[in-house]
C-alpha cells in the first residue's frame, strides 16, 4: 500500500513551475528555486542543507533512510502593470525527489526532478487596428505553457565532519506558445498561431557541507549548466548560455530547539545576455538571492512534530521587462510540518508572501506549498 502510494506520487506530473509570474514572460522564464516545502517554510534559508531540496548534492549525506518527497504549490497572485490588474491563481508541482543512503557505505544517491525555468503565462491585451479604413477592436491572448525542467542525479559522500557531493543535470522540457486574436467585428475570423520550443542541455554541480563544531555548519555549491539548445517546431533556432551558480550557506544551531540559517546564491545570468539580445529578447542580468530563516522545535526529541519555521528572502530576477530595470522580489514565509506512521510519512506546509516589482510592473503572491514525504 505504501509502495503504491509512493509510486503514485512519482507518477504525478512535476514538470511545472513553482510559481508563475509576469516576470517569467521574457527570456527563459521565471527561474525555479529547487527548494522543498520544508525549506520554503524558512524562505529557503536551509536549502543548501536540505536533502529534500535539489540545491546541494552534498545535503543528501544527511539522509538516514530512503526518502521520497513531493511538493505542490498553490499560488494566489495579484498582477499590476500599466495595462491593468488581475487576480490569478495556479497549481504547480515543482519538485519531486527520491534519495537515500547506500548500505555500509558513507554514500547517498538521489534523483530529483525540479523546475529550472518556468514559462507558464497568459497575457491578454486589446487594441484597435485600422483595417480597410475603419477602426476594428481586437483582443489578443499570448499564452505559454511549459518551461525547462531539471533532472538531477546526485551523490554525496560523507566522512567525518565533511560531506561532499556532486550531481549531473539534464535540462529538458518544452514550451508551447500560442497567440490568439479575435476581432470585435465577427466578419474577421479569429486567428490562432502556435509554436513549440524544446530545450536540451546538461550541467553539473558540486557541493560541500562542513560542520564547524557542534553548532555551526557551512555549505557551498558551484554549478555550471553550459548552455541550452533550443529547437522551434523541431528546427534548431538558438543556443543560449546558462549561468554559473555559486552558493554559500551558514547554519547555526543556537539551541536544541532553535536553529538559524542564511544563504546567498549568485548566478551569472549575464552570460545569457548576448544570446538573448541576439534573438530579440530583453537580455539578462546576474542575480543574487539572499535568505535568512529559523526553525523552532517544541520538542528536540521529536524535531519533526510541528516545528515553526520562519524566514525572509530577497532576490533579483534575471530577465527585465523594462530596459535597465532589473526585477526584484522579496518574500516572507512561515511553515510547519509533521511526521506520522512511525516517521514514515510526513507533511510539510509553507506559506509564502512574495512581492515582485520592476518599475510599473508589480506582483503580489501568496504561495501555499505542501510537501509530502514518504520513507518506505
Amino acid at each position: 500500500m505504501r509502495r503504491t502510494f509512493f509510486l503514485l506520487l512519482l507518477a504525478l506530473p512535476p514538470a511545472a513551475a513553482a510559481q508563475s509570474s509576469q516576470f517569467g514572460a521574457r527570456g527563459l522564464g521565471y527561474p525555479g528555486r529547487g527548494v522543498s516545502t520544508r525549506s520554503a517554510g524558512s524562505a529557503g534559508a536551509f536549502g543548501l542543507f536540505d536533502a529534500e531540496s535539489s540545491l546541494n548534492p552534498a545535503a543528501l549525506g544527511s539522509l538516514q533512510t530512503v526518502t521520497a518527497g513531493f511538493t505542490g504549490v498553490q499560488g494566489f497572485r495579484t498582477v499590476d502593470n500599466p495595462i491593468g490588474s488581475a487576480s490569478l491563481r495556479e497549481s504547480r508541482f515543482p519538485l519531486a525527489t527520491i534519495a537515500g543512503p547506500i548500505r555500509r557505505l558513507p554514500l547517498a544517491l538521489g534523483v530529483s526532478y525540479s523546475l529550472y525555468a518556468d514559462r507558464d503565462f497568459s497575457l491578454a491585451s486589446s487594441d484597435t487596428l485600422d483595417l480597410r479604413g475603419a477602426p476594428v477592436p481586437v483582443f489578443d491572448t499570448l499564452s505559454s505553457r511549459g518551461g525547462i525542467s531539471d533532472l538531477r542525479v546526485a551523490a554525496a559522500y560523507g566522512r567525518g565532519r565533511t560531506t561532499v557531493g556532486g550531481s549531473f543535470h539534464i535540462l529538458t522540457g518544452s514550451n508551447r506558445l500560442q497567440s490568439r486574436r479575435t476581432f470585435e467585428d465577427d466578419s474577421y475570423l479569429p486567428v490562432a498561431q502556435s509554436a513549440e520550443l524544446s530545450y536540451a542541455g546538461i550541467g553539473g554541480s558540486v557541493g560541500v557541507i562542513h560542520r564547524l563544531g557542534s553548532r555551526f555548519s557551512v555549505a557551498a555549491i558551484a554549478r555550471s549548466d553550459g548552455h541550452v539548445s533550443i529547437d522551434r517546431d523541431s528546427t534548431p533556432v538558438s543556443r543560449t548560455d546558462l549561468p554559473y551558480t555559486f552558493g554559500l550557506g551558514l547554519l547555526w544551531q543556537a539551541s536544541p530547539k532553535f536553529a538559524v540559517a542564511g544563504q546567498g546564491i549568485f548566478r551569472t545570468w549575464s552570460g545569457a545576455n548576448s544570446d538573448l539580445l541576439a534573438e530579440g529578447g530583453p537580455g539578462s542580468d546576474n542575480t543574487v538571492e539572499l535568505a535568512l530563516g529559523g526553525e523552532y522545535v517544541g520538542d528536540p526529541k521529536r524535531p519533526y512534530r510541528r516545528p515553526l519555521r520562519i524566514g525572509a528572502r530577497y532576490a533579483t530576477l534575471p530577465f527585465p521587462v523594462e530596459a535597465g530595470v532589473q526585477p526584484t522580489e522579496f518574500a516572507i514565509s512561515l511553515g510547519t510540518g509533521t511526521r506520522f506512521a512511525q516517521q514514515r510519512g510526513g507533511v510539510d506546509l509553507a506559506l509564502e508572501h512574495v512581492w515582485r516589482s520592476a518599475g510599473e510592473f508589480k506582483e503580489r503572491s501568496f504561495l501555499v506549498a505542501i510537501g509530502v514525504s514518504v520513507r518506505p
Binding site: 490588474s85 487576480s87 486567428v191 510592473f361
Partner: protein
C-alpha cells in the same frame, strides 16, 4: 487503553493533514490570464495585420455561357415588355388517350370539363392587375421554336382563357377550368396525337414579369381532363375519371436575347452565364499569412436589371481545377458562398470569400480562382454585368466604358514572431 486512544488521535490528525494537503493542491482551478503590456511583456513582439487589394490576372477574368438551356431551368419566364427582357413561355403536354380501359374493355369517354393549372413561382409583388393568358399553339413546338414563331401563334383566335391573379397571391397555383362550348378551345380530335400545347403570355398594370413552374422543377403546367365513362358500373370513381397530363416539354423565349458583352463579366440572364475569376496571391500571403477576411467586390456596369422584388442568388464556388469553362467546382459547402442580389442595385456587390481564399493557401493544387453563378440559372430575369480587367481604366486605359475590375480585398496577419529565448 489510553495509549491506544492517543495513537488513534494521531492517525486521525495525520490523515487530516494529508487530506488537507491534497485538497489544497487539487481543489483550486487555475486562472492564468493577466493583462498584457506590450511590447514589454510580449515575447517576440506584436501581431501585424495588413490589408491588400488584388485584381484578377489581366485578361483571365472570363464569362462563359450556355450552361443551362431555356426551359431546362427551375422556372419559365413570362413578361410583358419588361425592360430586362420580354418573354413568352410554352408547354407541351403528354398525349391524352381517346379511350379508357375499364375492366377488360376499352371504352370511349365524354369530356365534362378541362382544367389547366400553372404554378406561379414569383411575381413583382408591387405590380397589380396581373393576368395570365393561355393560348393554344402548335403541338409540334420544339427547341427550335423562336420568339417570333411563338408570338405569331399567340393570337386572339388561339386564346384558351385568361387567369386573373389576385393581387394578394404572390406565389402558388393558378388555374382555369373550361366547360361547355369552351371545351372546343382545347379539343383534341379523335384519332389524332392527343397532344395539347399552350403558350403563356401575361398582362399587368405596368410592364412586369412572372416566373412559372417548369417540368424540370416538377411544378410545370398540368392539363387535367374530367371525363364521364359510359359503362354500366354504378361506381362513381369508374364512371367519372380524371385524366391528368403534365408537360413533357417546356421552354420560354426572349424577344431580343442579349449576347454577353465580352468586355464585361456577365452573370445570369437567359444565357445562363457564369464568371471565372483568377487571381495570383502574393507569396507573402500564399505561404505564411493567416487570412482573417477576404471579400470579393464586383462593380456593376449599371443598375442590375431584373424583376423587382424577385432577387437572385449570387454563388461563388472554389474551383477544383482550372479547365476554363468546364472547370469543376467544389461541392463542399464550406467553400461555397452566396449572397442575395436584388434588381436595380447599382452599388458594389461584396461577397465574403474568406474560406475560399484560405483553401487556396491550404491546398496549393487548387487554382486561385472563383467561379460565380447566378441562381436560378436560366430561370431568373436578372442579368448582372460587372466590370472586368478589360474595362478597368487602371489596367486597360483604353477601355471605352470604364468600369472597375473585380477586387479581392484580403486582410491577413503575418506569422506571430514568437521569441526564441
Amino acid at each position: 487503553m489510553r495509549a491506544v486512544g492517543w495513537r488513534g488521535r494521531g492517525a486521525v490528525c495525520s490523515t487530516a493533514w494529508l487530506l488537507l494537503a491534497v485538497a489544497a493542491i487539487a481543489g483550486c482551478q487555475e486562472k492564468l490570464t493577466s493583462p498584457g503590456e506590450c511590447p514589454a511583456l510580449c515575447p517576440g513582439g506584436e501581431v501585424q495585420a495588413l490589408d491588400i487589394v488584388l485584381r484578377p490576372i489581366a485578361g483571365r477574368d472570363s464569362t462563359f455561357s450556355g450552361y443551362v438551356n431555356r426551359g431546362s431551368g427551375v422556372a419559365l419566364l413570362v413578361s410583358n415588355g419588361l425592360a430586362v427582357s420580354d418573354n413568352r413561355a410554352a408547354y407541351r403536354f403528354a398525349s391524352r388517350p381517346d379511350s379508357i380501359v375499364v375492366g377488360n374493355d376499352t371504352v370511349p369517354y365524354t369530356i365534362d370539363s378541362v382544367a389547366i393549372a400553372l404554378d406561379l413561382v414569383a411575381r413583382d409583388t408591387l405590380v397589380d392587375g396581373l393576368k395570365v393568358y393561355l393560348y393554344r399553339v402548335s403541338e409540334g413546338i420544339t427547341d427550335t421554336l423562336t420568339f417570333a414563331g411563338l408570338e405569331a401563334q399567340l393570337t386572339p383566335a388561339g386564346i384558351i382563357d385568361s387567369i386573373e391573379v389576385p393581387d394578394t397571391l404572390n406565389s402558388g397555383a393558378i388555374r382555369t377550368v373550361l366547360t361547355g362550348v369552351d371545351l372546343a378551345k382545347v379539343d383534341l380530335p379523335l384519332g389524332g396525337s392527343g397532344v395539347l400545347a399552350i403558350g403563356v403570355a401575361m398582362a399587368a398594370d405596368q410592364p412586369s414579369g412572372i416566373r412559372i413552374g417548369s417540368a424540370q422543377a416538377g411544378n410545370g403546367a398540368t392539363f387535367i381532363t374530367y371525363v364521364n365513362v359510359d359503362v354500366a358500373d354504378t361506381t362513381t370513381s369508374v364512371r367519372k375519371q380524371v385524366l391528368s397530363r403534365t408537360a413533357t416539354f417546356n421552354t420560354y423565349l426572349t424577344r431580343a436575347a442579349l449576347i454577353p458583352d465580352p468586355a464585361f463579366l456577365t452573370l445570369g440572364g437567359d444565357s445562363a452565364s457564369r464568371v471565372l475569376l483568377r487571381f495570383a496571391l502574393p507569396p507573402e500571403v500564399a505561404e505564411s499569412a493567416s487570412i482573417v477576411r477576404a471579400t470579393l467586390e464586383l462593380i456593376p456596369r449599371g443598375p442590375i436589371p431584373g424583376l423587382p422584388t424577385d432577387p437572385a442568388v449570387l454563388v461563388g464556388r472554389a474551383v477544383l481545377a482550372d479547365l476554363g469553362a468546364k472547370s469543376p467546382v467544389t461541392i463542399d459547402p464550406r467553400f461555397i458562398v452566396d449572397d442575395t442580389l436584388s434588381a436595380n442595385r447599382a452599388d458594389t456587390v461584396r461577397m465574403d470569400v474568406t474560406r475560399i481564399v484560405q483553401l487556396w493557401q491550404a491546398a496549393s493544387e487548387r487554382p486561385s480562382a472563383i467561379f460565380l453563378t447566378l441562381l436560378p440559372e436560366a430561370a431568373t430575369f436578372m442579368r448582372a454585368e460587372f466590370g472586368s480587367t478589360r474595362t478597368d481604366p487602371t489596367i486597360t486605359p483604353s477601355a471605352p466604358e470604364p468600369v472597375g475590375a473585380p477586387r479581392l480585398r484580403i486582410t491577413y496577419q503575418r506569422p506571430f514572431p514568437f521569441e526564441n529565448p
